[in-house]
Amino acid sequence: MIEFTFWDILRNLIFATRWTVLLSIAAFVGGGIVGIAILFLRISKGKWKRRFASGYIALFQGTPLLMQLFLMFFGLPMLGFRIEPWTAAVLGLTFFASAYLAEIWRGGVDALPRGQWDAGASLGLHYVQELRLIILPQAFAITRAPVVGFLVQLIKATALTSIIGFEELLRTSNAINNATFEPFTVYGLVAVIFFVLCYPLTQYARSLEARAAAR
């Protein structure tokens, strides 16, 4: 039997936090890339493309993330992919994030005055150039606060991947708790670590929001 001091617990938890951080970054980047693709479909002129994107967003916003992770974890092996908890976690959170980010950015695109599109067209830009040079930079700029806010949500959402067996912070803490029988300390520390990760971002989102409101 190994004795765990408070510092042993804390050190192990902080060591496991890197997986939480890594997963958050991977899902945020992946979600951003897929989210832009969904955004293109969502604001395209084709009716069926728009419908598909709306359905995609409604599906991911209308079902629990836990179900999405389970379907990833059990569904992909049926298609013949060998899948580890890490892959299921990254893919599941990527799709989850893409739906939310696409919807946030769509709000940004919709908020731009119609004249921005017209100005682009009158300069002789075609659709893709208009998006790339005029619409998207502005849409991204005015949605910075909600995107940072969503990043906080995403970091918290990584805790769910412990349920499908990914060794991030919460799963490690379950193991430590089973060894030490100190649930109050262990889960308290996990909460503190998540708070330390999320609170600065929450404050940053708030300051972005205040700056946007002042403008």
Binding site: T63, F184, F195
Partner: protein, 222 residues
Amino acid sequence: MSYSLDFGWLEGALGAIARGAAMTVFLIVVTTLAGTVISVLAAAGRRSGPLWLKRAITVYVEVIRNTPFLVQLFFIFFGLPAIGIRLDPIFAAILAMTLNMAAYTTEIVGAGLDAVPKGQREAAFALGLRPRQVFFKIVLPQALKVIFPALTSQIVIMMLESSVVSQIAVSELTYEADMLQARTFRPFETYFVVAMIYLGLSIALRRLLVGIGRRTLSAGVS
């Protein structure tokens, strides 16, 4: 590799799925009622209470909003017994869900209270209403009307997040799905069906809340 989907197990599982769904609905109804009441009190306290109360409410809101719900749930269910507070799973789930939702809705209700023009309050005082009457009869209904869409979204999000209380063995929809897939060895089909039920529940819940809002909040508020 080929795999054929099999939904043959579904017929015998309908009872369990219905029981799970009923528990999910029960959890979200209790949470919505308790969470709304708490958030109205907390939002009001944060605006007009003593300084220590304002600070305490701010700390509560920030701690809940910046930590995962699953960690809060584990802390309440596994952590609190270590200091002598033992809760049964359903009560722990309701407590965790209520505390979680109220932190978000406190901010939402607060934004609604701020959005009511000051003149409304002054006019009510000028008519001789008491402070409590001013708050509950004049300010709060108008605030609720403004924030109703945001409140609705938060309730739906909480309903979806309630799926994780399966982890402390509350027999709601996800828990029943876990049990079913262990028996049928059809995890994908099981979770697919249950995910679709959640989708239906979230659409129904949203419609229901919008309907309730339209009936109760429009009267007397322009």
